[in-house]
């Protein structure tokens, strides 16, 4: 999936299987990613688990888990809140948003989380106070939100270019994630047009959208990019760093070139 880290770095990663996004003394977030198409290392998120650790006097430990089949409006113990003062709550987000959305508010740590189900996959967004994050934490460096993806998990343009020699076949095995009907093949022009229709501004989210359409042919992914951008607006970092059109500050700079190569 595409990852925007706490440091505002933007990456596209493989990270197949279960990976920790965050693991600190307040909460742990783990995601499971599954391959989306045969012949590509691209994966998408099929499960998200959030553990809110016990916080003395405010909440007991609560676990929230969402899968592609189930986006519950409650913690695993069936409750919708934790603590006497409602310092931990789950609400459904409505409105004109994309897909079904759940918002978890952890007031005691000033943290908000939005989980969406868009098409067959999940998206995740979190806003946390910087002083609750410990960037110097050294627990193997496996916190994708804090340190980004390991180098060997990054999808880079040369990798994409090589893979693009092979035709992309839509996965039909349950091992590769949910069964999905075959999708259309996008050209760069069609993918760009589709993403422009949804996103308007040609930033990193736009480039991710183009990448996803070219990789999977699944138009739902353009909505996932739109949803992620909406989540960024709803849960903005203090200093919102939006990239100017066509000059992305990407770690895997040149996604559009890679996407073009893939096509």
């Amino acid at each position: 999936p595409h990852l925007r880290t706490f440091r505002d770095e933007f990456q596209t990663c493989k990270v197949e299987g279960a990976w920790p996004l965050i693991d600190n003394r307040f909460l742990s977030v783990q995601v499971t990613n599954v391959p989306v198409v045969l012949g590509s290392s691209a994966t998408a998120t099929s499960k998200i688990t959030v553990i809110f650790k016990s916080y003395h006097g405010c909440t007991d430990q609560k676990v929230y888990q969402a899968t592609t089949d189930d986006l519950p409006l409650a913690f695993q113990d069936g409750t919708r809140s934790g603590g006497e003062s409602g310092s931990l709550t789950i609400v459904e987000r409505g409105g004109s948003g994309v897909g079904r959305q759940v918002k978890i508010q952890a007031r005691y740590i000033g943290t908000s989380i939005i989980v969406r189900r868009v098409g067959s996959y999940l998206t995740f967004a979190i806003r946390m106070p910087e002083d609750t994050l410990d960037f110097s934490e050294d627990n193997g460096g496996l916190q994708l939100c804090l340190h980004g993806c390991p180098r060997n998990e990054l999808i880079k343009e040369h990798t994409l270019g090589r893979q693009s020699q092979q035709p992309r076949v839509q996965g039909t095995s349950t091992e590769l994630g949910p069964l999905r009907p075959p999708h259309q093949v996008y050209t760069v022009e069609r993918a760009t047009a589709k993403c422009r229709e949804t996103l308007q501004v040609e930033d990193v989210y736009f480039q991710s959208c183009v990448f996803d359409l070219l990789t999977t042919g699944d138009p739902e992914f353009s909505m996932a990019a739109y949803g992620a951008l909406e989540d960024l607006k709803a849960l903005p970092p203090s200093k919102l760093k939006q990239n100017s059109p066509r000059t992305p500050r990407l770690s895997n700079r040149g996604v559009s070139h890679a996407a073009a190569a893939a096509a």
């Binding site: 691209a42 006097g57 003062s85 979190i126 410990d134 999977t216 960024l232 203090s238």
Partner: protein, 119 residues
């Protein structure tokens, strides 16, 4: 290594003028100050790896947690919490309120965003 700063902040927050006493067992405010001290030292872990003062502080904090029956999870505060105006639980369980109470209201708190989407 900035362990001395952690020590100074802890001493300030537990000094008699702050309304706190170390021997005030089970004092909620004291546990808050101790947790803040522990958090501050944890943040110095890497830079203070070879510093004896740091290791002494880590050892002492562990002892104090045990002596005062403080839980290691719970609110922290980087500033003085006057015991005369002890906040309600609902206030302690609200991060924004705690920031206001810690006296850094004028100082805007920074938030970070992380997102994962697409394929």
């Amino acid at each position: 290594c900035r362990i001395q700063r952690c020590n100074a902040e802890y001493v300030a927050s537990t000094s008699p003028s702050s309304g706190l006493q170390e021997d005030a067992a089970l004092d909620v405010d004291y546990c808050i100050a101790l947790r803040a001290y522990a958090l501050c030292t944890r943040r110095q872990a890497r830079s203070c790896r070879g510093d004896l003062v740091y290791h002494s502080a880590v050892f002492r904090i562990k002892e104090l947690f045990s002596q005062h029956n403080c839980s290691s999870d719970g609110p922290t505060s980087s500033a003085k919490v006057p015991s005369t105006s002890r906040p309600a639980v609902s206030e302690l369980c609200d991060y924004e309120n705690r920031v206001l109470m810690s006296g850094s209201a004028g100082q805007q708190k920074k938030y970070a965003h992380c997102g994962l989407f697409g394929d």
